[in-house]
Symmetry: C2
Subunit: 276 residues, 2 copies
Amino acid sequence: MMQSITSRAHPFFKQLVRLGKSARYRRKDNLTLLDGIHLIQAYCAVFGSPTNLIVSQSGREYKEIKDFLCSIEKIPRPNIFVLSDALFHQVSPVKAPTGIVASISIPELKLVSENKDKTFCVLLETIQDPGNMGSILRSAAAAGVSDVYLSHDCTDAWAPKTLRAAMGAHFILRIHEQSNLVKIAQQFNGTVIATSLQANRSLYQIQLTGSVAFIFGNEGMGLSDDLLQVTDEQIMIPMLGKTESLNAAAAAAICFFERVRQHLDTQNIQPECYHQ
Amino acid sequence: MMQSITSRAHPFFKQLVRLGKSARYRRKDNLTLLDGIHLIQAYCAVFGSPTNLIVSQSGREYKEIKDFLCSIEKIPRPNIFVLSDALFHQVSPVKAPTGIVASISIPELKLVSENKDKTFCVLLETIQDPGNMGSILRSAAAAGVSDVYLSHDCTDAWAPKTLRAAMGAHFILRIHEQSNLVKIAQQFNGTVIATSLQANRSLYQIQLTGSVAFIFGNEGMGLSDDLLQVTDEQIMIPMLGKTESLNAAAAAAICFFERVRQHLDTQNIQPECYHQ
């Protein structure tokens, strides 16, 4: 089914605009927006076609989007809505128009019966910036993290901007929102590690090959005392420059991939084997 | 001197708005804006007081800004302009108002007579996102990079948004804009390393303790063929997850800090020594 929407008063158009803007609205309806063809393809690879696709008049003519629309014309066919570029811009407020958006149900958390595979987890406290959140999720997925726990005051993990920055990591990770991080840390069966500028030990002095949970705190304020008290290790990332300042997402990437490095080192795996 | 600006027609106000918006204008006058107290303090630590400080009516009352304004009341005193919150918002379009902005001359590149200290450089080709650019500069400064070379089509390194994301790295690094990266790579006296998803060797298999230049390419397209051809090593960052996708700034941080790790490993430096 392909349908044109030409009026701002169209109920579906109004819903799309609200989904883009309001975390409360997304949560109420358990819906969100995927913006851009690559993110939508990452979703399809895991969950199959989304129910609703929204394309702009210009976007319909882009080869990549055309090919994609042809490839998914199956049963059940998704609903395809065509919007004028001006209307589409209100749905997808990114500067470089992507030409395609999908509205999806936020996937349910795949429950795992036992916790024995929780060997690599991440706890995020009060991460405020959607770009940072997305980048952390993306690096986590690439490093083999299974579960990410978010405090109640983190930015919305399922906001379109966070989804875009994470480039499909949402569909691989188990993301636990509104988590009690102190409880999770206390119950974690392994080493709970927090980064802290005041720490004496370096990231590179810690064995990371076992069951590990990294905690990262707010971009400006760092971790709360409550959470610091339940960590097993506090480490700092040694710096050789005249500054001691790293972006939260950069710090997370460095920690995650130090674990990857140690893991490969232990396994003595050759790159040909793990780089599929 | 403290001066109130109440009119949008004030020439200095008009200049500030233009400086925030236009890369061409910044370049023409060799001026830019520093947004937020921490960034301004990082500037002061290197260059002393900026000539012009702009505070909002609300910002004047913030303790941090008040203390800062008192601390810099020296000779030569900076010009301090007070703007209504509404006017200030047009100068500093960040969501959470910072309350203080400085306008500064873009610092001249400190020339170094010889290249012998160019042991750790970064080349950036067509990096488009100001947040990524800023985060890369910030990580580079923290890892001890001396020089960063930017291709002509990178996003403006001195844009307020890039400056904010880099958190003072600009005042420590030598940033060479409009560089001919192929020439720089060819003339580099050390190992020129590019990341590539097609590479066979892993970052962790390369010795990084010598003179090293890392090259990073465009967020979507990667490196140009011209530049790939003049690299000494092409490496990939091994990933253990179900995705092989990293944000450009995350990838850069991982590479920079693998060099830091190898350096510390060689030197057998204890964290107490290098964490000042």
